[in-house]
């Protein structure tokens, strides 16, 4: 196994996900579903590390990808104006993907995963909506919300199949990657609601967000490298993770 094999496995998973949610009209107006390769990597990590893997688990990984795609569609909806045909169909593509994940798992009789994923979606929504709440959250609260949004569903997938030993890697790495993105956005002046909220929280802590974000990134980086040093996962996976966080 090398980086090419890992990349091909991710591409294959992507293709499988696309196949399961293919819809002529939605494809025409909303394009292919948005998938995060870093998340897909962590869905496949137990397989790539040689854990027992079968058709059912692979199908389950596909459905987790579909749920991510579904929720990503709804992140694209404009806050004030969703009247264009593209926006209307984006609402529906999210709902359609959501129905498809349920349909696939229902066909397979995989009720435990339906339960875990639906619980996970509800928790994720509770965190996603926080940016619209009147609240005074600390920066750590925002880190937690970002982490839940990125990792909750993969965590649930791990729980169902006994892959919890990968959770620490997955949590640390996906949070780190997202915070790196947020830092870049901040530095480039790209605005978002979560950044605005984090700026407010940082101000309450009496420090600029850029500095605090960089400190958090450094802590997570050190932590992840510590995990990598002490972990027995395959070296190729360690290398891939290192590339992920340095790119």
């Amino acid at each position: 196994m090398d980086a090419t094999y890992i990349q091909e496995s991710i591409e294959q998973l992507k293709t499988n996900i696309f196949m399961h949610v293919r819809h002529r009209t939605l494809l025409q107006y909303t394009g292919e579903p948005v998938l995060d390769e870093n998340q897909l990597f962590y869905l496949l990590m137990p397989f790539l590390n040689g854990e027992k893997w079968n058709e059912q688990i692979h199908k389950s990984a596909i459905t987790v990808g579909i749920v991510h795609a579904s929720l990503s569609e709804h992140d694209k909806i404009d806050e004030t104006n969703a009247t264009s045909k593209e926006q209307q169909l984006t609402v529906l593509s999210g709902d359609y993907y959501s129905g498809r994940y349920y349909e696939i798992l229902a066909q397979a009789g995989n009720i435990p995963l339906i339960k875990q994923l639906s619980e996970g979606i509800a928790v994720r929504c509770e965190h996603q909506i926080k940016v619209y709440e009147v609240n005074s959250l600390t920066l750590d609260n925002w880190y937690e919300s970002i982490s839940v949004v990125k990792t909750e569903l993969i965590k649930r997938f791990y729980q169902v199949y006994g892959f919890e030993q990968y959770s620490t890697f997955m949590h640390t790495s996906l949070l780190l990657i997202q915070l790196q993105k947020e830092l870049r956005n901040l530095q480039h002046g790209n605005k978002s609601l979560i950044l605005e909220k984090m700026v407010e929280s940082a101000a309450k802590e009496g420090q600029p967000l850029e500095l605090l974000l960089q400190q958090k990134i450094d802590v997570l980086n050190d932590l992840l490298h510590e995990y990598l040093r002490s972990s027995t996962i395959k070296d190729e996976l360690k290398l891939y993770i290192e590339q992920q966080i340095s790119s």
């Binding site: 709804h74 169909l89 709902d95 129905g99 798992l105 229902a106 009720i111 929504c125 996603q128 619209y132």
Partner: protein
């Protein structure tokens, strides 16, 4: 008023409907204050709870146990509610049942997350049922409803559509969820396949009639009764049965063009309403609705003798004849 009449019709189910209402509140309880507010806002807006009622009545034909039956009645109502929250974003609707929609009260994104949360809670709730058949029926219904909504958007302002297109659309938009409510109520109470089929078909026919009546009322009811301007369906490009029956009318076809360009004045809306109300299209649409009602009642006749047969008939007739 009509909602009160309906409540009277199923007054002997009140204890179980109250259980469903309580469970709806419990299911929507969230750690997020905003989701709680938005969900409560939605629950307080009420609704006829037709889907849970059909689940309960259908289940009465089998081994009725409210603790089991609620596990499908609650999710069906939640799925219906979640789809309304998202529909209001799609339709850019500020009012529903005379109240502000979630998207109007907060914003589109809050509506998306609230809807997703409610969908998720519906599925979480239904996982207390282990029978895969229940999940397969429900999942297929959810996907088909979505397909119906996609078709509805594709068909918006499309003047060359026909009545078959309309039936295909309303089947998915409304009839399927009512059909599934009846079918699933029967399945969870262990009814035999033949009678499950009769109840399923009953739900489908009633659902078709229900939507046709809804589409008629959009023209014949007042703005106040509707809680939104009469004729809103057409203003949004949804060409429903009364309009399909009138589409060769020069003023109506001109109106569709104007609506497509968002250029309808209040006077033109009132003129359109007047034409539709005075036309034969309303009467013809009522006839089509009645045709589906008769088919529904035939399915009731085929069911074994049971006190709930009368209830099914009464509710079907109420739905088909409602003035609002």
């Amino acid at each position: 008023m009509e909602k009160m009449k309906l409540k009277l019709l199923y007054s002997d189910l009140k204890a179980d409907i109250d259980i469903i209402e309580k469970e709806l509140e419990i299911a929507l309880n969230s750690s997020s204050q905003l989701i709680n507010d938005a969900s409560l806002h939605l629950l307080q807006a009420g609704g006829k709870r037709i889907r849970p009622v059909f689940v309960l009545i259908s289940a009465k034909f089998g081994q009725y146990n409210i603790d089991q039956v609620k596990n499908i009645a609650v999710p069906l109502e939640l799925i219906h509610s979640a789809s309304l929250v998202h529909d209001d974003v799609i339709d850019d609707s500020d009012l529903r049942r005379g109240r502000h929609t979630v998207k109007a009260q907060w914003n589109n994104r809050v509506a998306m997350y609230t809807g997703d949360f409610i969908f998720a809670r519906a599925l979480e709730y239904v996982t207390s049922i282990e029978n895969p058949r229940v999940h397969q029926i429900l999942a297929k219904t959810m996907v088909e409803i979505c397909n119906g909504e996609v078709i509805q958007i594709e068909d918006k302002f499309r003047s060359n559509q026909n009545i078959k297109d309309y039936f295909r659309r309303i089947k998915r938009k409304t009839a399927l969820l009512i059909e599934s409510s009846c079918e699933l109520g029967a399945v969870v109470s262990g009814l035999d396949d033949k009678n499950v089929r009769h109840l399923k078909q009953f739900g489908y026919f009633v659902g078709m009639s229900y939507q046709i009546v809804d589409d008629i009322l959009d023209f014949t009811a007042t703005d106040k009764e509707l809680g939104k301007p009469a004729g809103s369906d057409l203003l949004q490009g949804n060409i429903t049965l009364p309009i399909l029956l009138l589409k060769d009318h020069p003023t109506i076809s001109k109106f569709i063009e104007l609506a497509a360009n968002g250029e309808v004045t209040e006077q033109q809306r009132l003129e359109m309403l007047s034409i539709v109300r005075k036309s034969d299209a309303i009467k013809q649409s009522i006839n089509v609705s009645n045709h589906y009602l008769r088919k529904a009642l035939k399915e009731v006749d085929a069911l074994p003798n049971h006190p709930m047969k009368k209830k099914l008939r009464d509710i079907a007739l109420f739905i088909g004849k409602r003035k609002f």
